[in-house]
Every structure is written in structure tokens, then in C-alpha cells.
Assembly symmetry: C2
Homo-oligomer: 227 residues x 2
């Protein structure tokens, strides 16, 4: 039996044609349809490693990708959770959120956070991507992953607020320790960085205090423009 692999969308948002999967072969490989869906999802998200961000790595100044970024965020959650404003956040759910929060960019692409022109349509692109990707999973898992992603986006629960804090703090760290590489390249101003990142305080006042010191340090070193 030959059927269409997805619901019409695909990697990088282009409509798929003739991407046919022979499920009679699959039945040899997979014990159950459930396992096939899970493995296909894990295969599809390998593409997160292809999505480049504007931030560069400290050692060699190459652009970071979304999978590396997501791993680093999980490490920030692990190491810095004591600074969450809410002392009893669910660490596992916070970790899950940071691990999946950028998967939508497999279809929607990365929008540079200081790119005002790229913003319109971002929400709609990412919503479509979430539904395409998470629908690869068994149906009751689909809802769980959409819920997690929407919780992260809404930034209302303590877990989502702390996840958002580390999502903002991590590129600040890479920028500081790469001598402001991405900031200098794009001529970013201190006021833009404050505007973009001040909601770190919602998840952690301690980390926002640190971030402000970091931003001042970056200005003093000439990495950021202070107009």
C-alpha cells in the first residue's frame, strides 16, 4: 500500500509531491503502527540540526543550530533552576519545553529576534508547523506535544516563564563570550537587547540582574551600541 507520508506540508514548508512511503515494507521493520509513528517523528526532527541561528559558537564563531541551542538550554535549566522565581517548578516539564520549543522552525525557519520584517506571519507559520510535526506522532501524544509547545509560547506558567528566561539568557552568554560577534555584525543597540530580554525577570529576577550586568559589560567592551 502506498500512501502520502504527511498531510501535505514538509521540511522547510514546501508542499510535498510524490513523497510516497511503502508501508508494506514498514510492517517488516516496525512491530506496531505506534512505534512507526514515533520513529518517523524522531527521524523527522533530525532536521532541527539544519536550522541555523544568528548566534555563533564561542570556539570557532560558526553559527549555532537549533538542536545545539536546545541542548544548551536544557543544561541551563539543569544548572540554574535554583534561580527560578518559583521555587517549586516542575523541572521535567520545563526540560521538555526547552527541548521541543524550536521544532516548529524545521518548517518555519529561524527568525532573528531583532528582525522586525521577519515577524509578521511568524505565528501562523509556526502554528502550522507544530500541527504538521506533532501529527506525525501517535494521536494522544500529538496533543501532549502541542500543549507543551503552546504552554511555552504563552509564557504564563512558572515553568514556561523560566524556560523563556534561559531561552533569552543563552544567546546573551554566547554573544558576550564570542566578543559580541552577532551583535556587532547586525549593529545591535543596548536598548534593543533590553527590550528583547527584560522578560527574563518574569522567570528569574536573579538571572535578569545578571543579564543586565552582562549587557553593561558588553557595552563597555564595544560589543553593543549605547546610543
Amino acid at each position: 500500500m502506498l500512501v502520502l507520508d504527511t498531510d501535505g506540508y514538509n521540511f522547510r514548508g514546501h508542499v510535498l509531491k510524490n513523497r510516497l512511503i511503502d508501508y508494506s515494507r514498514c510492517s517488516v521493520l516496525f512491530k506496531s503502527e505506534r512505534l512507526r509513528q514515533q520513529i518517523y517523528f524522531l527521524k523527522e526532527i533530525d532536521n532541527l540540526k539544519q536550522i541555523l541561528r544568528q548566534t555563533v559558537l564561542i570556539a570557532d564563531k560558526r553559527q549555532e543550530n537549533d538542536a545545539e541551542h536546545s541542548w544548551h538550554l536544557a543544561m541551563l535549566v539543569m544548572v540554574l533552576s535554583e534561580y527560578s522565581n518559583n521555587s517549586s517548578i516542575d523541572l521535567l516539564r520545563t526540560m521538555k519545553m526547552v527541548l521541543i520549543h524550536d521544532l516548529v522552525e524545521i518548517d518555519a525557519g529561524d527568525t532573528f529576534c531583532y528582525d522586525e520584517e521577519g515577524r509578521p506571519g511568524k505565528v501562523e507559520r509556526e502554528r502550522k508547523a507544530a500541527h504538521r510535526l506533532f501529527n506525525i506522532l501517535p494521536s494522544e501524544m500529538t496533543q501532549e506535544y502541542i500543549d507543551l509547545w503552546e504552554e511555552f509560547e504563552a509564557m504564563e506558567t512558572p515553568e514556561a516563564q523560566f524556560a523563556a528566561s534561559v531561552d533569552r539568557l543563552q544567546p546573551l552568554l554566547l554573544n558576550l563570550y564570542s566578543e559580541g560577534y552577532a551583535w556587532k555584525k547586525h549593529g545591535i543597540k543596548k536598548s534593543q537587547v533590553i527590550e528583547r530580554n527584560h522578560h527574563i525577570a518574569k522567570g528569574s529576577t536573579t538571572l535578569w540582574e545578571f543579564a543586565q550586568n552582562l549587557i553593561d559589560e558588553a557595552v563597555s567592551k564595544g560589543y553593543l551600541i549605547d546610543e
Copy 2:
């Protein structure tokens, strides 16, 4: 005050000379010595993104790095935990183990799993690396991270066994879906893959059954040598 940054080892195992940090500057940036240690650790582990593995990515066949691999493992834990032989594993601890399990390779490098010559000395190199890296953290966190890493290495707890299962399964998936790229490059035999991966069964009999089907599929497609 100028002091040595580390205990003598460094990124890639070379002894550091003259790597001096001016802590009087740091005191402006960091509210506490504790936060400084945590941030320095998070900065140091950015180097995990530099450690290349033999396995290649599905989309473009470039070598995967350890940070991407660790993120992917965390996703496997999230998606496939229902197949753990032990139905009540602690998911958060399992997740932490896969996130940190390869950090030692920042100093010790990646040893290709079918490289018999690279094996001697690996344990000692990695032990040294664990102590160098985790000692960057505040002291009571150092012990927590060394314990986690040693638990993973010992493969005795249900969490460590499931973590080891996904650590083996993930490269099998990438190999199958990249048309056996790394296997063909190194002339790997079916018997080597079985020998290397059969302990997937300790963490999950279901995933080992799937892995065996996957290996048979790889042989039938000519990705693996079946002597």
C-alpha cells in the same frame, strides 16, 4: 587578582599555560562566586558542539556533533520511555544522564565505537575529564554531576540502562536513514553491530527487537556486511 582558570587540563586535553582570569572583573559581572562557577561551566560546555562523531545527519550527511546527539537522545527518552523494561523509571534523571553523558569528550574526544585501537586509555581519559569539567561547578553540584555520569557509565540502574539503550539506538537510526553512510565508509559488519548494541535489550526488549529488524533491513540494503 589573577589566578589559573582550571586545574591544569583544558579543552582537548592539552595542558593550559597562562590562561589567566581576572576575577576582579568577574566580581562586577557576577553577584556571587556560586553563579560565576555555574556560568563558567555553561560557557565551557559550549565546546561539546565542537566534538564530531562518526555518524552523519540524514539531510546533508555531515558529521553529527555531541551536543546534537545529546539533544536527540533526550528526545528519544521523551518519545520512547514507554518501552523501558522498567515501567517506573525516573524520567528526569534519565534525561539528565543523556544530556551530560558525553561532556567528558570535550577533553577526551570521541572514540568511534568500532575502533578497537582507540579503546585503551579511554576510561582514564574520560575520568580525568569528568573531574576537570564538573569541578568548575560549585562543590556540592560537582558531586551530583559526577554521580550522574558514573551512574550512566555503570549501566546498572534501570534509568542508566534505558539511557544506554537510546544512546545505542539513535546512531542506528541515523545510519539506516543515511543509507548506511558511516557503516559503509568503515566497512562495518552485521556481527560488529550486534555485538556493540545487543545490550539495548537490558533497557528495552521492544527497542532491541526493533533494532534487530533495523539491522536486518540494513543488511538487505547493502549498508552492512553480512559475512
